[in-house]
Amino acid sequence: MSQINRIEGGLINRSKKLSFTFNGQSLEGYEGDTLASALLANGHRMVGRSFKYHRPRGIFSAGSEEPNALVQLRTGAYQEPNTRATVTELFHGLEATSQNHRGSLKYDFMAVNDLFSSFLSAGFYYKTFMWPKAFWEKFYEPVIRAAAGLGRLSGQDDPDIYDKGFLHCDVLVVGAGAAGLSAALSAGRAGARVILMDEDFCMGGRLNVETLSVNDQSGSEWATQALAELSAMDNVRLMTRTTAYGAYDHGIVGALERVTDHLISSENKPRQILWRVYTKRTILCAGATERPIAFGNNDRPGVMLAGAVRAYVNRWGALPGKRVAVFTNNDDGWRTATDLAAKGVEITAVIDSRDGQPPVDVPKGAAIVMGGRIVDTKGRHGIRSITLSNGQQIPVDCLAVSGGWSPNVQLTCHQRGRPTWRDDIAAFVPGGELPQGMSVAGAASGNLSLSSVLLNGHDIGNSVVSDLGFTPSKVKASSSEEETTGISAFWHVRESKARAWLDLQNDVTVKDVKLSHQEGFRSVEHLKRYTTLGMATDQGKTANIPALAVMAECTGKSLPETGTTIFRPPYTPVAIGALAGRARGKDFRPSRLSPSHSWAKEQGAIFVEAGMWYRAQWFPRSGETHWRQSVDREVTQTRASVGVCDVTTLGKIDVQGRDAAQFLNKVYANAFAKLPVGKVRYGIMLREDGIMMDDGTSARFAENHFVMTTTTANAVSVFRHMEFCRQCLWPEMDVHLISSTEQYAQFAVAGPNARKLLQKVVDSDHDISNEAFPFMGCGEITVCGGVPTRLFRISFSGELAYEIAVPTRYGDSLVRTLIAAGEEFDVTPYGTEALGVMRIEKGHAAGNELNGQTTARDLGMGRMVSKKKDSIGNTLSEREGLNLENGLSLVGFRPVNRSEELKAGFHFISKGNTANMANDEGWMSSVAFSPNLGHSIGLGFIKRGSERLGEIVIATDPLRGGEMDVEIVSAHFIDPEGERLRA
């Protein structure tokens, strides 16, 4: 049996059959179907189970407001939970399964919850599950968690790719229904840059589902014509399958385009694109959403929104039922009866909560009950009959319910806007402060008749473009026949004894709202939080207003007095993958590669992430099986002869200007004004709060030209800080900053043979002998026949060392040359590990010591902070708390038992004290194995450390277990007098 409920007509392409499966059963539909319309056409009414009571649920709406018809789409890594069948475009090979049941959809074991529903009333869990104490986590919670949630993630990486982009326009029109098309036509004709987007795959909105005509054409024909005109304009961009989900500050709108969700495979194109739309004006034409009326057992499959019922019939030729009744409080509900009757569908009854005369001609054979109420329904897996307040039972297989229409005001509230109530249409309309540049047109602004929508869209489009300085075209608005839109508010049937649902997905009933009121949860936010109303995937689009009305009834206040819920982005849920775009895996962040990277790779170097940089950590040689072997060798070889290390990643800043020296004198805590040309000086930079910010060197190449180095980690923040000083603190200074980090490839050449090695590449007209180029000297030279080079005689390793910088294009070549030229000295490349070992041996502070919590004093450099001048951080560094008598100071540590291994993160306790926080005297910040000393060494902070050299303290490490005795020693493990540096 195929498509038993398919009738003629509609906007589907019957020449294109599509087969799909639901719960494994293969079915057929047509191109142009949604999963929901295809399921209805195939006679499927029950498609899922509710969240709490596991009640059978069917298709309720025909749009993105759907609370019930959520399915698991696709399979394996592609499986996509909680997908609304009503907006899922049918494609060939689609696989869908129903959610949230154990056992089959039809026979769900969890349905027992429904029998115990009276125990599961709103907020029941706050009052119980507390005894015995341990049982919450051990028993109750696991059970609740297992039952919670609807769909399932695969647990596998999302195999699709996503992209993002930026759009710019004068006018963004959100929604391509009658209002949106009219507005876009006005704006487009006037010549503005227009973007028109709609969440549907077929633009036209309600024009595609109503039988009303426009300009004597059918609505859908008129829409097609309007779209043809718009797509012919090159100043207009049409975007289908695109949802504007959020309105952000200053007119920025977030939109999600579903590029391949209607295809069986994405074929390496992005599945979805997240667009940030920068628009001068936004015209919101999001239409309106129909709401239900609450009455006993109003949640059964077959109970649907009236507008949805006729949408399925008119747009998709899919029949939700063969014997249809209508329950309405407004004229629009009747349209469903007449439309269906016109298609020959049996209308068994029209129940109107209002007294008086039927607003339209009555379909033949239908029982008309004015002032009527439905109190209950029957039918286990789908509605079989309705019961009226007078006891009359009417057999139906579909009930179309209309409680009136709520304008889709969501985007107008994403900032400060709060909707205002209109009694005449019993609905909230946009009010208060709209997001910058936003206007609202059509049903979204409360115009509920097609004729008014067309005119309103047209006019607002024109007024917006004239605001922007365009001349509106003279073309008149399109028109349509008048229709009646009368309504009198009616929210729920008091006479109903049975449970009456408000939030269908989260199973919130009228009783729950009343209980919430009874227990004092009366503000809207308390109501939502206590009952979970509106917290489901449909965000209460159909539930919030009726629930609010019930609460208003309890409090005896008017509905607007009771309040409205605050709408926040997103309008409909957005895949997290789309919000992340390309940023995942290795592409999470960009990679910065040093000039020697490809050479180091050839050497089999192990790399480590340093911020965005990849740096060589060590260079294993054949036969070396443990990293320590390689690192120890690199250190030993460097100290014995010579080593080469890529230090390009250090920040480099060229500082130029008449006041450059004075400027550095203010940003550094130590003196710089009198640094001679051709000299380098180590400098410490404080934050204004007196804490160490960064350290590095500055070299004076000319009277007005310094070259500063910063640590790799702080390169960006130091530059930012110095620009702040330059522009905001001392704007009268002539000083200019530019980063030259990228411009130069810089290598440290360290070790007793460093000079000999360099002399082989430095051009002969440059003398780098110790006399001509002493420790802390710098100069501009040339190497390898004229390559411009900056040479610095500085040392981080404690050895005779230089740093040599050439234009980056030569970096790769230079490292190869140095290694080749160094062969006779048995030169070794060394990585960041060996660099770290040597700086610890030398007692130099690095990132672990400059952690943003330590002062110059803590680091033993207190005296460097010159009190003779103003400098950043100088004043506040004098605060008592930063100068405590028993303050921390950086010292060296070695294990009393030399064979023991120190670990960073040790805390220090004085001998005889118990290990607790009160007795905590400091911590170990950096450790290394010193191949030169043959044992583990460390740097660390301990109270009054510098006065305690030789003292034995306990290094405790409860985290990793154990403690050991360590001796406090000088931080300078190697060459404390610095003879090697000056050799």
Binding site: D249, H250, D689, R720, Q727, C728, P731, T875, L876
Partner: protein
């Protein structure tokens, strides 16, 4: 958010880095008798109004200029954007 740069026009705030209260450009005199207290107030006791706020933004991914943006902290509406350097220079004589 969009910051309307005095020279470059509207730019997404994502190009900028935020610092805070614009009073941070008025660094106290280190030689004042009550310098310690002045620096304490300068660094730690900043304006934090619910309403108009003059604040520093750095156009790091643009022209590297420091700007003083006047922005309402309730609505995020921006009413004025100036170069911090111009403001700093203009305020110099007052000191």
């Amino acid at each position: 958010m969009i910051i309307n740069h005095p020279l470059l026009g509207p730019r997404d705030a994502a190009e900028f880095v935020y610092k805070g209260d614009a009073s941070l450009i008025n660094r106290p005199n280190w030689q004042a008798d009550d310098a310690a207290e002045l620096f304490h107030e300068y660094l730690y006791l900043r304006d934090n109004p619910a309403g108009q706020h003059r604040e520093l933004w750095y156009h790091e991914q643009g022209d590297r200029s420091w700007l003083i943006v006047t922005r309402n902290t309730l609505t995020h509406e921006i009413s004025n954007v100036e170069f911090a350097r111009d403001v700093a220079l203009a305020e110099r004589p007052k000191k």
